[in-house]
């Protein structure tokens, strides 16, 4: 507990750490949508409910952009919650 190296997880779906976020920005990823894709932020079952605001705020601070600019291209994809495939397979092609 609380050793030298503290691992801060910012995305619990894909186990992305704050360290990885910092490193990606240092590598030169200067676009939030590209950063999200590189780190898979918002690509898990929760679609970014916890990671996106943390990452957006950190990215905005690091790049001097506004949060609204950083999030201008962020879209959540349907379905909002994971859907069991048997629901769509059994229901057939009607919907």
């Amino acid at each position: 507990m609380g050793g030298e190296k503290r691992t801060v997880i910012i995305c619990r779906c894909n186990d992305v750490t704050l360290e990885e976020l910092k490193k990606a920005i240092e590598m030169g990823i200067d676009d939030f949508e590209l950063l999200r894709r590189y780190l898979r932020l918002g690509f898990g079952p929760c679609q970014g409910r916890s990671c996106i605001m943390i990452a957006a705020r950190y990215f905005a601070r690091a790049t001097g952009k506004s949060i609204s600019d950083v999030l201008a291209n962020f879209h959540v994809r349907p379905p909002i919650l994971p859907v069991p495939s048997r629901a769509v397979v059994v229901r057939g092609e009607g919907w």
């Binding site: 990823i29 676009d31 590189y38 349907p78 859907v83 048997r86």
Partner: protein, 379 residues
């Protein structure tokens, strides 16, 4: 020489890379959205050379070679695990035999597999409803999100100026040459212009009177939650179901599925269709029964930038002496991008492509009527 590339997707960035590598100092890329925002980051991230036209076969073979040549320099992640086209009908195996003969002639080692051989590759496949398969061991998949990001960082590191959120509105022609591109953020002058903007190339080139027959055809892929390694080849295609549904497992573990489902060309990028979930998952779950027990996580849209003969448009754009196009990839732009870069750089710097057959893909073919035939467009 000053070059302006319109389109910051994977094709545009590979063109920029090849130009800089060959000594062009001043290369600028404009992209209307974020880098890679078009088909580049929306596709299945798979590659193959087992097509049915000599143009596609020869160029894709070189492209795959180039992906691997650049692997270490860029840190690309590529997995050559093969494509498996599964047949449900006996007659389909005859088609496969003909395709295999064609591929083998061009040095691509595809082969027809019996049901038992299919089971060796994909043990949990439903052997009761399949008759065999065709397998291409040289095809594969990649981590496209990471690979594209590495390409982006590399070209920027080499001095290419990439301007995202910069939309090219029109080209300005004077005396048989293009002299500038007007964007929403001002006018940009250059000596050479390359349009690599997929279906939007049509609008941009239309501003200087050039007609480009490209239609944006919607595609609707979906992914499941991540699972352990369940899809053994890079890609499995359900060949005998209309629209050829296919499945690939991303390196992250999610199952990516898609099917060619009729839709309105040009339908907006957020015109969600929930019916694609059942239309795609149902046939694939017949072939791979475990797919009834997975969770669908996300669904999105993208476009195939379709040309009338489903082949790209490459090379010089007449009547302008300094205008080039690389667009209309019809669903294969990502896998083809490294060779796209090579060919367009060839045309710009030495007036002709280093692979002769690329000449068949010039824009003029739609005027002369010398179209290319391709019968195996998948998904």
């Amino acid at each position: 020489m000053k070059v302006l590339v319109v389109g910051g997707g994977i094709s545009g960035l590979f063109v920029a890379y090849e130009l800089v590598r060959r000594g062009v100092k001043d290369v600028t890329v404009v992209e209307e959205n974020y880098p890679g925002s078009g088909a580049t980051l929306r596709n299945a991230a798979c590659f193959r050379s087992s097509f049915t036209s000599p143009e596609h076969v020869l160029l894709m073979k070189e492209s795959i070679k180039r992906w691997f040549e650049l692997k270490d320099e860029f840190g690309f992640e590529l997995y050559q695990k093969g494509y498996l086209w599964v047949a449900r009908r006996e007659e389909t195996l005859d088609t496969f035999r003909k395709l295999v003969e064609f591929h083998n002639k061009y040095g691509i080692p595809t082969r027809v597999l019996s049901v038992d051989e299919v089971k060796e590759i994909q043990p949990n496949i439903n052997s009761k409803i399949i008759t065999g398969a065709m397998f291409d061991p040289t095809a594969g998949k990649m981590k496209i999100l990471e690979n594209f990001t590495r390409l982006y960082l590399r070209v920027k590191g080499l001095g290419v100026k990439v301007h995202p959120y910069t939309k090219a509105l029109k080209l300005v022609a004077r005396g048989g040459k293009i002299v500038a591109a007007e964007t929403n953020r001002g006018s940009l002058e250059a000596d050479v212009f390359v349009v690599a903007a997929a279906e939007k190339s049509k609008d941009i080139l239309g501003t200087v009177g050039v007609d480009v027959p490209i239609e944006p055809v919607p595609r609707h892929p979906l992914v499941t939650e991540p699972y352990s390694d369940v899809i053994k080849p890079a890609l499995i295609v359900d060949w005998d179901t209309p629209g050829a549904p296919y499945i690939t497992q991303t390196a992250h573990g999610t199952l990516y599925m898609a099917r060619d489902i009729a839709d309105t060309p040009g339908a907006p990028i957020y015109s969600t269709r929930l019916d694609v979930m059942s239309k795609t998952t149902k046939p694939l779950s017949e072939i791979l029964p475990f797919l009834r027990h997975v969770y669908i996580l996300r669904y999105w849209m993208g476009y195939y930038d379709m040309t009338p003969d489903h082949h790209p448009i490459y090379g010089p754009v007449e009547p302008y002496e300094n205008l080039y196009i690389a667009a209309g990839f019809s669903g294969h732009g990502m896998m083809m991008a490294p060779i796209t870069g090579v060919l367009i750089a060839d045309w710009i710097l030495s007036g002709k492509p280093s692979i002769e057959i690329a000449n068949n893909l010039k824009l003029e073919r739609f005027k002369t009527g010398r179209l290319v035939k391709e019968i195996a467009v998948i998904g």
